[in-house]
């Protein structure tokens, strides 16, 4: 096994070898999405930056990239919010408390919210995409007075699929965030908004010249959101998107996640629209 010595003198483990974490609890957020709390068996907290992901494994079943959804600035367990879509994600969310899971990472680039200080932040997301943004939101709200307007525009399929509904209410009511939620369709009696999340962008209150936009969701939704933001005048270099590609190594070695010259695991997952715009319009990539 290889290991490297960091400037602080600590020995960093081989990034290909998972650390073991014990599953403390699983909370059902929606019918298919679950938030898991994990504790490192060696007791060493996993430090990370908002937007980074880990390669999370159910031993003997498989490994998948999952963003960290907990706070990067508060102590506590490692938190992941996972939508059960297939073999590995389902095995992870149905693991019993006490199960040992493997964790490699954290990997990838971050939302880097601190350079938005003094300006506005607009967060546009849909479905499970809110989970990778939660650490950035917690970081922003912990220093709320450092930012001007903080706006969250969130879209879900139906009211039942809204993620972190209670927490969003708290962010809006107590922590100075403007939160607008819309669903693709609603049952009779639903009092909220119905429509696609991009429709919220034109009416949101922010200063395009002083705005950093953070966008996470299905790629078609991110492209439409970025185009709408551009129309409002937000520079492409100020629009950050979190990309998804199939991953294996997570550290820029295997090429599984390649998007032309970019390895999404190492150069991403968060990249600016300036970089991504020409790549997102190509069918073959």
């Amino acid at each position: 096994m290889t290991s490297t010595v960091s400037r602080s003198g600590a020995v960093a483990a081989d990034p290909m070898v998972p650390r073991t974490f014990t599953l403390l609890s699983t909370h059902a957020d929606t019918r298919d999405t679950f938030t898991l709390e994990l504790e490192p068996t060696d007791g060493v907290r996993l430090e990370f930056r908002a937007g980074q992901f880990t390669m999370l494994s159910a031993f003997g079943i498989g490994e998948v990239p999952i963003s960290i959804s907990g706070s990067p600035i508060e102590d506590g367990p490692l938190i992941h919010t996972i939508r059960s879509v297939g073999g590995v994600s389902n095995a992870i969310v149905t693991s019993a408390p006490g199960t040992q899971l493997g964790v490699r990472g954290p990997f990838g680039t971050s939302w880097d919210v601190t350079d938005a200080k003094g300006g506005d932040v607009v967060i546009i997301t849909g479905g499970i995409g809110l989970a990778p943004l939660r650490p950035a939101i917690l970081e922003l709200l912990a220093e709320r007075d450092q930012y001007n307007r903080v706006v969250l525009l969130y879209g879900a399929r139906t009211p039942e699929d809204i993620l972190f509904g209670d927490e969003m209410r708290k962010w809006a009511d107590r922590l100075g965030m403007t939160v607008e939620v819309t669903v693709d369709n609603g049952p009779h009696g639903w009092k909220g908004r119905v429509g696609f999340v991009t429709q919220l962008i034109s009416r949101a209150s922010f200063d395009p010249a002083q705005t950093i936009a953070l966008v996470c969701g299905p790629e078609v939704m991110m492209r439409a959101s970025a185009n709408e933001l551009r129309q409002r005048g937000v520079p492409a270099g100020k629009i950050r998107l979190s990309m998804e590609r199939n991953m294996k190594c997570g550290i820029g070695l295997c090429g599984h996640c390649q998007l032309r010259e970019h390895f999404i695991c190492a150069d991403g997952p968060i990249l600016t629209y300036e970089v991504l715009a020409p790549l997102m319009q190509k069918w073959e990539l």
Partner: protein, 157 residues
């Protein structure tokens, strides 16, 4: 009920009319009246005569279809700054959906027949108005297409 003066003062602030020639706004205001709906109140029902065009000032309107098997389904909402209804433009001028106020709602209601009359009498007015209606329809169509993709629902989408 609001006066024509109040309505024509308000109209230029509404996104639908923003930037329109003030003379044109005054001309159109002649077809308008202020209306208010309580939470749950019906604006119109499927099959009713579509003789009104609503410009929402405050509140929220839910546009829905009635499904006897599964209750109603809301497929769109209109908030302050939005407009509701373009069926007044399309023969046979009958609503094809239901609309109700999700909360206390205020709107400016335009008489469809009056608007059609003005459009026919002066094609320049008709063209300016149709341009605005087209923009709204285009935005809603784009959003509907996106939702049709069921991006958050279908795994692998």
């Amino acid at each position: 009920m609001g006066t024509i003066t109040e309505i024509k003062d308000y109209m230029p602030e509404h996104p639908f009319f923003k930037g329109l020639d003030p003379d044109l706004i005054e001309f159109l205001a002649g077809c308008a009246r202020n209306v208010h709906f309580k939470e749950g109140e019906i604006l119109f029902r499927e099959g009713d005569k579509a003789d009104t065009f609503y410009v929402i000032r405050k509140g929220r309107v839910a546009i829905q279809v009635h499904n006897p098997a599964g209750g109603g389904m809301i497929f769109d909402t209109a908030d302050a700054g939005d407009v509701v209804g373009w069926t007044w433009l399309v023969p046979p001028y009958k609503w094809v959906f239901d609309a109700s106020a999700s909360e206390e709602t205020s709107a400016v209601a335009f008489d469809g027949e009056c608007l059609r009359g003005k459009c026919e009498a002066d094609p320049a007015v008709g063209y300016a108005l149709m341009n605005r209606v087209m923009l709204v329809m285009y935005d809603r169509l784009q959003a509907a297409r996106m939702r049709l993709l069921d991006l958050y629902g279908t795994v692998g989408s």
